[in-house]
Symmetry: C2
């Protein structure tokens, strides 16, 4: 949810009964502090008392600075991803932070549990943006992680409807994490052009590429199809790095460059048909969940 989940989206999600997360992936430490403070100010000014969290990609070069920001701003809930959780056990445990790590295989789920995480997000191949290397789908990943783990399990990857939430609960999840559906909300900080692309996408419009660098699920636009072509002729990791260049995510998601930017979205984009306010999205999800269970 880089360039998408700032304080506005996170606060709207929390205010309406979800746990909103500020996505630090696209933020320098100062900007992260600003978003946390703005969310807190908004809650204070409106008499809202709800939890929120921050997502931290552990492989960031400045991860120690980001963690310092988390501690200084007294954030109580961290979702970490993309890195080895073990190295952060002491700091998160000593500071009594509720800590959830995102994984894409049973092995990494067990590592997160061993590292002392309070819960795990198991994210399938259909998820948008950065993805695991093993390509395990949510339908197959969730029951296998559920069987292996003792700590609570949150399902992610491809979920944009209440019926899918019910399906994931059936598979053993105790909650779900939703990205793409919330990226196409009024409150998301992504560009309108990007949000509209989520709405327009159908079932076959995304793919997982960049497998030699760091697999990522993108909309098939001009840039992404160039990467595919390079991969098909056997381009090396270095060539792909060159092609990727810098700031593609910002260009695509935040600035709305639909041709040269990276447009990260999940396969669930085919299920998103309207840009909506967060409150309405959550209401729809709950109604769909109830109907799905009633129809079973």
């Amino acid at each position: 949810m880089v360039w998408t989940s700032g304080w506005k989206l996170a606060s709207a999600a929390s205010e309406n009964g979800c746990l909103g997360l500020i996505g630090a992936g696209s933020m320098k430490p100062d900007l992260l502090a600003e978003h946390i403070q703005k969310l807190r100010n908004y809650f204070r000014d409106n008499g809202i008392n709800k939890p929120f969290g921050v997502n931290l990609p552990l492989i960031r070069g400045d991860i120690n600075e980001l963690v310092k920001t988390i501690l200084k701003e007294e954030v109580r809930i961290v979702f970490s991803s993309a890195g080895n959780p073990k190295a952060f056990t002491n700091i998160f445990r000593e500071n009594n932070i509720k800590w959830v790590h995102v994984v894409a295989s049973v092995k990494h789920a067990l590592k997160a549990q061993d590292a002392g995480c309070d819960a795990v997000v198991a994210e399938g191949f259909e998820a948008g943006g950065h993805n695991g290397i093993d390509e395990i789908t949510t339908l197959c990943l969730v029951p296998q992680v559920s069987e292996a783990l003792e700590i609570p399990l949150i399902a992610a990857g491809g979920i944009a409807t209440g019926a899918q939430i019910a399906a994931c609960m059936t598979l053993g999840a105790e909650g779900v994490q939703i990205g793409t559906r919330f990226a196409a909300t009024i409150e998301a900080s992504s560009s309108d052009a990007f949000k509209q692309k989520i709405v327009d996408a159908n079932d076959t419009d995304t793919f997982l590429i960049m497998k030699k660098l760091n697999p990522v699920r993108l909309l098939k636009n001009k840039f992404a199809l160039e990467v595919l072509e390079a991969e098909s002729r056997g381009a090396s990791a270095d060539e792909l790095k060159e092609l990727l260049g810098r700031k593609r995510e910002m260009k695509g998601i935040f600035e709305g460059d639909l041709v040269e930017g990276e447009l990260e979205m999940g396969q669930s984009s085919g299920l998103v048909n309207e840009i909506l306010p967060v409150k309405k999205v959550i209401k729809n999800l709950l109604n769909e969940y109830d109907s799905a269970i009633k129809n079973l």
Copy 2:
């Protein structure tokens, strides 16, 4: 289910309350006729009156001979896959055959409906063996196809437990098609060595390769890793065809060559922990289904 679903597996599935399918993918017309006759003899000798079907890959060079066999043997139910259904509308409709086509995208589901199929199987990326090119997972494919179609929908891909059946019904399916779980049964005609590999496989042990020819999900054995290596350096379709050679499926699945054979299985292999009789598999699926719904 090539080299796996002969008359023994199909009859056991039908006898125990499922719709068993004889998989014609690995059969010449004469052998298909023999399997149909053996199933019918077994049913007659045991006073069983249950439906069964035949799966026909429409791209087979000798498809017209296979269809003639179906008609001559008076098969009432056909599941077709891998090809254009439109070309078969007349023959299946004129002969009053119940006809279901396997698809992997909304577009192909609508084409099957337009061709006059009675139902559609929507099969996700996690499925074993031959697979669609769009890599849509069962969790994302089923609700999108369900929304688009008027005819009944059967979910497939990655399903090996009753909880997963419940999940797929939640997503809008009216039934499920299960492969890998039944490939690891006593009655499957595949080799014991192959069945044991399904039992041993974990969540990360299969992958989808051969994307320049015809995508197929295989266990990562020596042969499959050689294909991956060739693909990674940009091997052409012709090079891959050369590497594939002939009869890899027979070698792997039927003869049990675990090194040089193609070992087709789905991601659900990680959920299969025992070779069981079909009757026991079906009993387990129903019990798991009931528990999953009760626990919701």
